[in-house]
Symmetry: C2
Subunit: 609 residues, 2 copies
């Protein structure tokens, strides 16, 4: 207890010291405000510790947050997931909390316009070009200037973790389905169509896809911290020399040259002609290095679009990964039902996550989880981005609702699945209704046929229509894009309410995960990964539109005891039966006799009423 207290005091002293030192540098630079976002130079979802500047400065360890410092104030903006954590971690730090999910909370720009003075410092490496420019324009209209400067680097020195140095490795064509020469050729052709002789790339998943490399630099995503400048006649990977593997990359030959990670800026400074960059993903510091004489074209990265359309080998791999994942899930759910609670044992949200991890690690090609498992018991399931911690997680008994959202990174592909199960006791009628609204929407999205050119936001309501009729909705997206042994979240496609202009295309992989959340009671979410495929022929259509549909990739049974059958149509039951029959036929042969018997029980055909 005393030890903990001392640590807290230590942290508190350091935060105030850091703020004082930062203000000293701000004074030297003539800055009235400085902003430290929780971001890295690669617009990463998961950051290396080296870039956790916001956490280092503030002591706040949440995943999302931005600190704004003026001469007399320091504030942290974060969303409602982290209010409680921030209250605790900011205590006595002199940093105030701005609750950005609250409707009356000013944006950082609005606040800076009110209280930020005349000149705001930003580290351009931590902002996308578009975000930097939008902020600069908004502040500029109010007469506030923006100065590009990194004030954390001179302050955070001795105890700053290094950028990870683990070597990357070649991702074989047997998994990638396309070699580097072919990818470079296609991207260069797309560049030519935009008149560009060079393209600057800082998004790590684009680099990993383009050069068929994978690494271990960050949690959950097999990425390699690096930059690429792609030109018509050469391709240069900027990466720490320690990270380049000893063995030659069999697909590279003379196609790819490597240089030091920090050399990218000088390299960009000597570019000529027309430079393509994706302002939504490339950081402002790289953009500022492009010579003024160059023509600059801000356009969606062609790699983003190509990467999203999985080729036949990638999809085949995805199906292999899904089977491996389904084996782990089946074994886990059998353990949960038959062993986890025997002899009065209890579990916790964390022991369940650990057990699932244990089953996944038995998979031949498993490398890592694709994100931190969300095991939400009862009311915790209603906290959408809940993250159980060993010290505080809930004890799980053989009763009530459990939401389990997890995924794996396999050499063959990336998985992400949510199942909500009932652990025991009487099921409230409302719980069944909620589960069934979610399931009906989940099925409706997977079943829909739609014309080519349809966007995800046109289909979002199909997953929500049944719960909407009951006056219920949810705030998160219905579906996100998923990478191939890359990020579990990737664009540009998704299924959300937002006005995303991207049409769904054959080979896209997305999640289908509607949910219902009752604060303090339960959270229900049901998620499959699905892929866009050409729709089978129907009667002669009246138009020339070609139709697409989805095919489930995930292969795991649903908890049918939670279904309110009075709400289900015969079509929906038929869909469930066909899905369960497919799960059984694909997965049972991979299981022990006992596990297969368990799965057969779970996949038993339901009688149409």
């Amino acid at each position: 207890m005393n030890e903990t207290k001392q640590q807290n005091i230590l942290i508190i002293m350091k935060v105030t010291e850091k703020l004082a030192a930062l203000r000293g540098l701000m004074r030297e630079q003539g800055l009235s405000a400085y902003v430290v976002p929780g971001a890295d130079p690669h617009a990463s979802e998961y950051m290396a510790a080296h870039w956790m500047e916001m956490s280092w400065l503030s002591g706040f360890k949440g995943e999302t947050g931005t600190v704004v410092v003026t001469m007399d104030k320091a504030l942290l903006w974060t969303d409602s997931r982290y209010y409680l954590q921030a209250d605790i971690e900011l205590k006595d730090s002199t940093i105030g909390l701005m609750r950005e999910s609250d409707i009356d909370c000013p944006t950082i720009a609005e606040w800076l316009i009110r209280e930020g003075g005349s000149l705001v410092g930003l580290n351009p490496e931590m902002y996308s070009v578009n975000a930097f420019r939008a902020l600069k324009e908004q502040l500029g209209e109010a007469g506030i200037g923006v100065h590009s400067v990194d004030l954390i680097k001179p302050l955070w020195t001795d105890d700053r973790p290094a950028i990870p140095q683990a070597p990357f490795y070649e991702y074989e064509v047997a998994y990638a389905g396309e070699d580097v020469a072919s990818k470079l050729g296609r991207v260069r052709e797309a560049m030519r169509q935009k008149g560009a002789n060079a393209m600057v790339i800082s998004a790590l998943d684009e680099i990993a896809w383009l050069l068929n490399i994978r690494g271990k630099d960050v949690e959950y995503n097999p990425l390699v911290i690096s930059y690429v400048v792609l030109e018509q006649d050469r391709c240069t990977l900027f990466v720490a020399p320690e990270k380049v593997p000893a063995a030659a990359h069999s697909q590279w030959g003379t196609l790819v040259a490597t240089r030091g990670y920090d050399e990218v800026f000088d390299y960009i400074r000597q570019l000529q002609g027309t430079v393509l960059y994706d302002g939504a993903r490339v950081n402002e510091a790289l953009f500022e290095a492009i010579p003024a004489a160059c023509r600059k074209v801000n356009a969606q990265s062609p790699i983003l679009v190509m990467k999203a359309r999985k080729n036949a080998v990638e999809l085949k791999g995805e199906r292999i990964a899904m089977r491996e994942d389904a084996v782990a899930l089946t074994r886990f759910f059998r353990w949960l039902e038959e062993e986890a609670f025997v002899d009065g044992q209890t579990q916790t949200e964390c022991t369940l996550a650990d057990k699932l991890h244990e089953f996944r690690t038995m998979g031949k090609h498993f490398t890592d989880e694709s994100f931190g498992t969300i095991a939400g018991y009862k009311g915790n399931g209603a906290i959408v981005h809940y993250s159980a911690e060993p010290a505080t997680c809930a004890t799980v008994y053989p009763e009530g609702m459990l939401l389990l959202d997890s995924g794996g990174q396999y050499l063959d592909g990336t998985t992400d699945i949510t199942r909500t199960v009932w652990l025991g006791g009487d099921i409230p009628a409302q719980a069944k209704r909620d589960y069934t609204y979610v399931l009906k929407g989940h099925i409706a999205l997977q079943q829909v046929r739609f014309p080519r050119g349809t966007r995800g936001n046109q289909l979002d309501a199909l997953a929500k229509q049944f719960m909407w009729a009951a006056g219920i909705t949810y705030g998160h997206g219905t579906g996100h894009g998923v990478g191939h042994f890359l990020g579990c979240h990737e664009g540009p496609q998704n299924v959300r309410t937002d006005n995303n202009p991207t049409a769904l295309e054959v080979g896209h992989v997305i999640s289908d995960e509607p949910g219902i959340y009752r604060t303090g009671e339960w959270g229900i979410r049901t998620e499959n990964l699905i892929t866009v495929v050409p729709a089978p022929a129907t009667e002669v259509a009246t138009t020339n539109d070609q139709f697409l549909t989805f095919e489930p990739l995930t292969l795991c049974f649903y908890d049918t005891q939670l279904i309110d059958f009075s709400l289900m149509t015969a079509d929906e039951i038929a869909w469930l039966n066909a899905y369960h029959a497919r799960v059984l036929s694909e997965i049972a042969p991979l299981l022990s006799a006992e596990d297969a018997a368990f799965l057969a029980k779970k996949c038993k055909a339901l009688i149409t009423n």
Copy 2:
């Protein structure tokens, strides 16, 4: 026959003469190309003859088209609806046809970049600010200049129809529900919020709404050709003096001053401060008149947003208009079934439209049709914007499918309804399936509950999901906004695939009109007007979202003999029965005993299967 031929020759000579004269003026101005769009200065859907410059120049009478003239070429861009008509009307005119619905047809900008030379002339009155700027920017990037000039005015003199001079009239508060003082106050407050002391308005429906006036200047829409400049301390209507009625406008007092129509430009030239304009609706000529010293704010017109949200009086009027319309429709359909074909009589698409018009004119507050009736018999119904002409329209027999899309302008409101009916003979199974897919989608949209903030494009798939499952879709919008005794089409809300950012709001009126079109066979469309209302309470919701739903405004039975009941759910049958019961209870009391008996037969409850 000879007479017709001579007329054709006369027209042909004139077109070539006009082109020669235009090229003479182009040469004087140093223009390499001149563009004449089919548009007026008010972005009107229906134009006064005075502004039909494109038709005057080219001889092409279609509603949509743009003529581009260079020194050696003249081309007309129009869409597939008008290909046939253009081929005939452009014959020997030396004007070539650009089929803009064809996938390989260049846009006007693309063609001008290829062949348009160095300087393109545009009449800025005929372009919205946004359209003008987009074209100017695109041409500018290719090194082509744009010059604002009206070259038709000096050429089209003697035979040019005058701007309509009929007086406008006051639209009473008893119909409008809000007086001019209140509307001016609300719009001025919205202007203040954008820091504007003046706003320029050229859209006629906005002016009619703001000043509670209506007129007869164009077909179908009760609008008044005019401009308004609204300032914080005055409101000026620019309108031909002949059009100002003798009687004073009871709501105006000193709130509104009038000036001559053409004086608007000089008036704008003396504005100071910050000027608000809606670049999507205000024409470029007005914008160019705003002094350089003014701050200019391009933003969606606050009037557009206010006008779309109908107040209680407007909605009450809309319901009155709907009942009047339903009486006419019921009488028409009884005539069609019981009298139109007796003793071997036949009809034509035009006699049917005339008969419906005749019934509508018996309505107490009927003033005009709200658009040209579309009566499409059999295969003609599959031509989405079909317009029957007396000389060429189809003969209608008591057999097969008839699509009838029509509407009325009533002092109380505007109507727009489509019903598709079967006139006799055996109904093909496919016709029933098509009709039922359309009906199910039409019902699904009317039934949906959705959270506040939902946009129309999120709901569009609900109307299409059933036909999509059969591999069928349609290319037109599912729903357009409808004015209140104003334009039958109004924004900003709609239900379409497009990425329209407008959320649906209580008081919005939209159409719900899915369709299926089988070339050469039939067209099926079913359309009600519906309005957004708060959704009734349901079980306790899990979120703070408030839910909305739609309520049908249109009150006319559906042809139930076309329904394939095997495709209908019990919920859908229940919806139909409730709707028909409401139609009968609201309309029967307004009918003769015979008409009421006919309606009762049509509204008979269907047995749930």
